[in-house]
């Protein structure tokens, strides 16, 4: 049984208002049966310094990534992981984290690959909870383990691979990295190692919309008219567009995937998690440099 959605008027304009909860809602609902709060951070130690009472930790790298292959964990590992955190298939999961929910959105996207139905973000994440002097505890939560069914990941709907991007040219691509990464500027000097990819620049024809633009000063998502201005009038997206978003390894673009899918209501948005660390090292794929998107490659 899922927990009732946050009726906050702040969210009603969004396409899927049930995907967000406010800090007020969370304070009022902490401890409700059927609700599990998950912290997902960039910093692997932040949960240990203090977290929302009762919340469990899921780390994007050590928990959600396969330890050997560059891929996500499979259905049985996911079942074991979330079951050990007290999450059943019908649990309402609320995820929050550092850096404007950057990694929390990534965790939410991975939960979605496994078809977990009710997974939401805490609007404003850790920063807003902290700014409001929300309670933290340091003791690691140890929920009773529950059974979670083994559900195989469905990579077809919201995940894109390199070949999908090559076949996508002519349709909108959103590069959510910083303008410097997009243009291909580099700062190479001795003992200043560059990591991750062999070439700099962006996938030709991609619009550069840094992911953080979707976030207001207090860490919450911007209101719908502002998001429309950024993604529709700004980046030229239109209803029924088939969109692929990417960044460096797919984390920042998972945040943009959330905005496009759940706040703006675009259908079929895919996150290319191989992103620049794959594209920028792949042989014979087209690359554009500079601040302009560049023409659609003839393919």
């Amino acid at each position: 049984m899922t927990v009732e959605v946050d009726p906050s008027p702040t969210f009603t304009a969004f396409a899927h208002p049930g995907r967000l909860v406010s800090t007020d809602w969370l304070r009022a609902n902490l401890g409700t049966p059927g609700l599990v709060v998950v912290e997902s951070d960039e910093d692997v130690l932040l949960y240990e310094t203090g977290h929302i009472p009762g919340s469990v930790k899921i780390d994007w790298h050590t928990d959600l990534n396969d330890p050997v292959e560059r891929d996500y964990i499979d259905g049985s590992r996911f079942a074991a992981l979330v079951g050990s955190k007290g999450i059943s298939r019908d649990t309402t999961v609320v995820i929050y984290g550092d850096k404007n929910n950057w990694w929390a959105a990534y965790a939410l996207w991975v939960f979605t690959l496994f078809g977990h139905e009710d997974v939401r973000l805490l609007d404003g994440g850790r920063a807003k909870w902290e700014a409001e002097e929300g309670e933290y505890v340091t003791a690691t939560s140890r929920p009773a383990a529950v059974d979670y069914p083994v559900v195989e990941r469905d990579d077809s709907a919201i995940r894109a691979f390199k070949d999908d991007v090559l076949a996508h040219f002519g349709k909108p691509l959103i590069d959510v990295r910083s303008p410097e990464e997009f243009s291909g500027e580099r700062t190479t000097a001795p003992a200043y190692p560059e990591e991750g990819s062999l070439r700099a620049g962006h996938i030709p024809s991609a619009q550069n919309v840094p992911w953080g633009k979707a976030v207001a000063e207090d860490g919450t998502f911007r209101a719908l008219p502002e998001l429309d201005a950024i993604y529709r009038s700004g980046a030229g997206l239109a209803d029924d567009d088939d969109v692929i978003a990417y960044c460096r390894i797919g984390e920042r673009s998972a945040h943009t995937w959330f905005v496009l899918t759940h706040l703006l209501g675009f259908e079929g948005v895919r996150n290319y998690d191989g992103s620049w660390t794959e594209w920028g090292s792949a042989v014979r794929v087209p690359i554009a440099t500079g601040s302009e998107p560049g023409p659609v490659p003839i393919h």
Partner: protein
């Protein structure tokens, strides 16, 4: 490029060898808590650096804003200072390991520390190899600063 070998391993200064031993004798989960202890022990910057942020070098390979500064005193002893926000405990822990592990070492001892020391202290699984790169970059920058100081 210097490769890891049993010889370089035995040549590790005692302070760094002790830190590695302390991590390796713990189970994976407890290693995170030891790293957190290090994070909490990172000393405040001396006032001369808090007043002069321009002296500090940003470690851009770390995902969080961390800056380091290396001093070499008249006895050729190295002192590493670092600052990172409390929202970045992992990065603070890395900096603290290096600040404590390099404390009191001579220039030559610091330059001989194997570049892959961060990969050998049992954190690649608990923290992930990707994040350990941040400490590797910090060590590389510290060694480069030492070389610059002794030429200057």
């Amino acid at each position: 490029m210097e490769y890891w070998s049993p010889m370089t391993r035995s040549a590790l200064p005692e302070s760094l060898a002790q830190i590695r031993e302390d991590f390796l004798e713990l189970e994976q989960g407890d290693r995170l808590f030891l790293l957190l202890e290090f994070a909490n022990e990172l000393p405040e910057l001396p006032p001369r650096y808090t007043d002069h942020p321009d002296l500090l070098e940003r470690v851009v390979e770390c995902q969080s804003p961390v800056s380091i500064f290396v001093e070499v005193d008249e006895n050729r002893i190295v002192h590493l200072h670092a600052t990172a926000p409390k929202e970045a405990p992992t990065t603070r822990g890395f900096a603290s390991i290096l600040a404590q592990g390099l404390a009191g070492l001579t220039v030559d001892q610091v330059l001989e520390v194997p570049d892959d020391f961060p990969n050998t202290i049992g954190l690649t699984e608990a923290v992930s190899l990707l994040r350990i790169r941040g400490m590797t970059a910090m060590l590389a920058r510290a060694k480069r600063q030492v070389r610059e100081r002794i030429v200057a």
